[in-house]
């Protein structure tokens, strides 16, 4: 039997298993919180188990092709099918989404944000997991769209219900932005569908036949997709939902948002927009690159202007995704490899940073950089973890961040033939400057929060702390170092950051053939 179609049940199971967990949880009374958590965690673990099994079955020598392909009728009337498969690009992200969900579940064990109600919280998280996993495996535009949208509502509620002070505004903004994007994206999908002869929504088919569309039409269709994906990435100037959403979201929400949701956009570019509309991609590439580098510098500046730790990290996402988009905009397989690697790396690192931010918030009840300080003295482990992540995030060689960042810069030197080299080399230099700014804001953050003496209000070792002693006690009680749950939840990420930093080939081996397969459609 065809190796690529063997075991094609694993993907469906891995994707929809969480929903089974949801069903179970629906029948467990709200009061049984421990039970709820247990079921959710078990479900997530089982899902991850399936994911790991997928890893074992995956044929790494043919990472460039779709594997475990399954195709059955779904909406025959509009020629859309339930068509799934996975290749070297999807696999890492697919697994990443599962890992992150598990970690978040573990973290949630003793970190259910107010106003409590773990049942709803965890159910939403499981639904989210299905949406994320599904997006990465769909090989049919309609299916992709459905999963792509499926993540919206859960995230909307996660931010809106369990978020911070300004959560309602943030959640609505997040929702409207994304919906706006995806509405236009849908129109673009349909236009593509009809322009290719209304034959099929299958991605491979469209990739084959999309190139035949007249260039002007392509450019317009691409515009629709661009907005849809760029909002999700987010690229400048569609980024303003991100800081609010991240800042207001509960820790778990921020982590998932940063680690996986942002990747849906870049993934869309690589999987759908670019291969299907090669001519348009070549037209758009310089502008995408421009927006990308603007995003790099702009995001960094945004970070430097922040007084709130979490918001700073959020803005850093804009900058990092800028690097990813820069890699994509070169349209070379080298650049896209860097981009995909960057996606995973950013997922691990920024996810970890948000975890840290969340724990800081739990302990200090504030994320005001000015009020924090001396964390290395009070909570050394947490402080060093923060430092580690900062280093990883600013692209220190030997840690995962570097392999997304440096190759992206490198690739900008020689974009796909036909693109203006001068333009892209200018981008390259600007992006290189971006790395310095990255060092600036991350170390600045680290220095201000971790170095120095703890502030008196948090029981710092200064004499005037007697002034507001009750105040101290209020905080003292919470300020403790990393807990067991946190260790369990974080270690995999930390290990991953080092592992992929030392052995980037683990990923590149997967990505390279798949990207190569895509780039052939752009004539790269």
């Amino acid at each position: 039997m065809d190796i690529l179609r063997d075991h094609n049940w694993v993907l469906s199971v891995g994707t929809f298993l969480p929903l089974a967990g949801v069903l179970v949880m629906l029948f467990i009374p709200k009061a049984e919180e421990q039970l709820q958590k247990a079921v959710a965690l078990i479900t997530a673990l089982a899902t991850l188990g399936v994911g790991v099994y997928t890893l074992t079955l995956f044929n790494y020598d043919r990472a460039g092709e779709m594997q475990f392909v399954a195709q059955t009728n779904w909406i025959s009337v509009i020629k859309s099918t339930y068509y799934i498969g996975i290749d070297g690009i999807s696999l890492p992200l697919y697994i990443l989404s599962m890992v992150i969900t598990v970690l978040v579940m573990i973290y949630s064990w003793d970190h259910i944000p107010s106003p409590g109600n773990p049942k709803a919280f965890l159910i939403l998280m499981l639904v989210l997991q299905t949406g994320m996993a599904g997006t990465f495996i769909s090989q049919d535009l309609i299916l992709f769209f459905v999963f792509f949208e499926l993540v919206l509502l859960p995230m909307y509620f996660m931010i809106g219900v369990w978020g911070g002070e300004n959560r309602q505004y943030a959640s609505l903004k997040f929702f409207l932005y994304t919906m706006f994007g995806s509405a236009l994206m849908l129109v673009a999908f349909l236009a593509l569908f009809f322009k290719t002869g209304a034959e099929s929504f299958a991605i491979p088919y469209l990739v084959e036949n999309g190139g035949a569309i007249a260039k002007n039409t392509q450019v317009w269709i691409f515009a629709g997709m661009f907005i849809g994906f760029a909002v999700k990435v987010p690229m400048f100037p569609f980024h303003t939902w991100l800081p609010d959403a991240h800042t207001q979201a509960p820790t778990q929400g921020s982590v998932i948002l940063a680690a996986v949701l942002l990747k849906l956009g870049t993934y869309g570019f690589i999987r759908i927009a670019i291969p299907m509309l090669p001519d348009a991609a070549r037209e758009w590439a310089p502008y995408i690159g421009l927006l990308a580098v603007i995003g790099i510098i702009y995001g960094a500046l945004g970070c430097l202007a922040q007084t709130d730790m979490k918001r700073l990290i959020a803005f850093s996402s804009v900058a990092h995704m800028g690097f990813v988009m820069l890699g994509i905009s070169t349209l070379t397989s080298f650049g896209m490899n860097a981009a995909v690697f960057g996606m995973v790396a950013h997922g691990l690192i920024t996810g970890m940073l948000f975890f840290v931010a969340g724990s800081v918030k739990d302990r200090y009840h504030t994320l005001e950089i000015a009020r924090l300080g001396g964390m290395l003295k009070q909570v050394p482990h947490l402080g060093w973890i923060l430092g580690f992540c900062a280093m990883a995030s600013l692209g220190l060689p030997g840690l995962a961040g570097f392999w997304g960042e440096f190759p992206a810069i490198l690739s900008a030197y020689s974009p796909l033939s036909g693109l203006s080299e001068v333009t892209f080399r200018v981008y390259m230099v600007i992006a290189a400057m971006g790395t310095v700014l990255a060092a600036a804001y991350l170390l600045w953050l680290f220095q201000r929060t971790a170095f120095g003496e703890p502030k008196p209000e948090f029981g710092g070792s200064t004499s005037d702390s007697h002034g507001h002693h009750d105040h101290d006690d209020a905080h003292h009680s919470d300020i403790h170092d990393v807990t067991v749950y946190e260790w369990v939840a974080w270690t995999p990420l930390l290990v991953g950051i080092v592992l992929f930093g030392v052995m980037p080939n683990l990923l590149f081996k997967l990505i390279d053939p798949a990207v190569a397969a895509i780039v052939t459609h752009i004539g790269g």
Partner: protein, 503 residues
């Protein structure tokens, strides 16, 4: 003149296919039963009437099924003036089922109100009967009669709460404007008849085509306006918000779903069967109507605080989405897709909107208020209803994987299939509107999930059984249609006219 008399003289009654009109007959019988029973049974057992009404509708559904399953093809009565084809069968099914849900919604509401129940059910059934006739009418006369048949009881239903000034107002506005609109439409029909010398739609189709004289244009415009009023398309929507707000909630549900659907049935029938040749006239007209309807409906809905009124505007906007594909119905070979999308959308919309009204009924039983704010913290004390409400709202907003999205999707698909520039523009307008729409749907969700309970009263909501049943049906339908969109699309696909340019 004499010739006509002679014609009358040797008149023979036409053969009638009773199987074909069985649904209508059953409903008519049901009307009589309810009417008579109402006279004899005691007040405390009036609840029987709702049961009778419900069973009447279900009973009428049986012949619809048999008709659907019979492979006899389209049945044409009275030399083509009354046709039972796939389109009419599908729509009949839709009307009967949604009517049944509406009965479920009404039961408790009507029992608890201190008004006469018998008449309520009679009027309801009559209006349904009108709708059933509408689906099969292929002649100006029968269309007109069916239209009035479904409208006049609706006028009275709107004014149902006799002593409530709002209800009166709702009724009067609905009535006056309705009659005015149908008068205008009639004028248009008269002109049509004048130029085509036939009231048979297929007969008109033969005449109304080629070069368009002013009089033909005017005729088509007036007819379209008449139906545009029924589907409350902007700028003929003005009655809808006031009437919806004033009328009893179940009636509002009825108007916003069934009667609107009937309007679309009529509109589609006329456009497809009667005046396809005049597409140069009605396509631009509907394009403008659709764009206006979506936009105005949305922006007006944004600033509503009364949830029923908000839903009124929302249903106007949804009407815009249903109109949207009709604006390109005659372009290329898109007509089939357009018809499909209209039917699909009507099916999905019926399930979702009825569900939402069920939620409103359930919640208002506790809060006794129609304000959006009264939904505050709903999820915290009634998670079940909260979740359902979320599903319905999300579906109305068109978010996958809930029913609404397939409606919007097929609408976009139909518009784009035409491939005209205007089609794309309209699609983009629609896309933007679907985003604006979330503004107010999301607002309700926000109330339910993120806001505190208004007066801190977190006692659970007692939902009577019929209401539960209604919510169950609509909820499952909404989910199922979303996850297996093939179902709705399939019905949309088979519901085609015979002898129309789309069929």
């Amino acid at each position: 003149m004499l010739s006509t008399l002679f014609a009358v003289a040797d008149w023979v009654s036409p053969a009638v296919d009773y199987h074909a009109i069985a649904p209508e007959i059953i409903v008519a019988a049901g009307i009589c039963v309810v009417l008579l029973a109402d006279l004899f049974i005691a007040d405390r057992s009036k609840w029987l009437l709702s049961t009778v009404a419900g069973f009447t509708l279900l009973g009428a559904f049986i012949p619809v099924l048999t008709l659907a399953l019979s492979d006899e093809g389209p049945r044409s009565l009275f030399d083509g003036r009354y046709v039972i084809d796939d389109f009419s069968i599908v729509m009949k099914g839709l009307f009967l089922l949604s009517a049944y849900v509406i009965v479920l919604l009404s039961t408790t509401h009507i029992e608890e109100g201190d008004y006469y129940q018998g008449e309520y059910w009679v009027l309801m059934l009559s209006s349904i009967l009108g709708m059933l006739m509408m689906t099969s009418s292929r002649d100006l006369v029968s269309i007109f009669v069916a239209l009035e048949f479904l409208s006049i009881p609706a006028y009275m239903l709107a004014a149902w709460r006799k002593r409530d000034a709002k209800s009166n107002e709702a009724g009067v506005k609905y009535f006056l404007l309705g009659v005015f609109a149908s008068a205008v439409m009639l004028y248009g029909m008269s002109l049509l008849y004048g130029v085509a010398n036939s009231t048979l739609l297929s007969g008109l189709a033969a005449e109304i085509s080629g070069e368009l004289t002013a009089i033909r244009v005017l005729a088509v415009v007036f007819v379209v306006v008449g139906f545009a009023f029924k589907v409350s398309a902007v700028p003929f929507h003005t009655w809808a918000p006031d009437t919806y707000e004033g009328a009893p909630t179940p009636v509002t549900a009825f108007l916003s779903v069934a009667s609107k659907a009937a309007g679309f049935v009529a509109l589609v029938t006329v456009l497809y069967v009667a005046v396809p040749g005049a597409s140069d006239v009605w396509q631009p007209l509907i394009w403008v109507l659709a764009a206006l309807t979506m936009t105005v409906g949305n922006v007006m809905a944004l600033r509503q605080t009364n949830i029923v009124r908000m839903l009124a505007y929302s249903s106007i906007a949804q009407g815009g989405f249903i109109l949207m594909p009709l604006a390109v119905a005659a372009e290329g070979n898109s007509s089939a897709a357009v018809l499909r999308s209209v039917v699909t959308y009507l099916i999905v919309y019926a399930a979702t909107n009825l569900g939402m009204f069920g939620i409103i009924l359930a919640v208002s039983r506790k809060t006794r208020s129609g304000e959006v704010a009264s939904f505050g913290g709903l999820f915290s004390y009634a998670p079940g209803i909260g979740a359902l409400a979320t599903i319905f709202l999300a579906s109305l907003a068109g978010i996958p994987p809930l029913g609404g999205w397939i409606g919007k999707f097929s609408a976009f698909q139909a518009v784009l299939e035409a491939g005209t520039t205007w089609g794309y523009v309209l699609a983009v307008i629609g896309a933007v509107n679907s985003v604006i729409a979330f503004g107010y749907y999301g607002n309700v969700m926000r109330e339910m999930w993120m806001r505190p309970v208004p007066n801190g009263d977190t006692s659970p909501i007692a939902t009577p059984a019929p209401l539960k049943l209604a919510l169950g049906i609509t909820g499952i339908a909404t989910l199922a249609l979303g996850i297996l969109p093939g179902v709705a699309l399939h019905f949309g696909d088979i519901a085609v006219f015979t002898s129309a340019f789309g069929g």
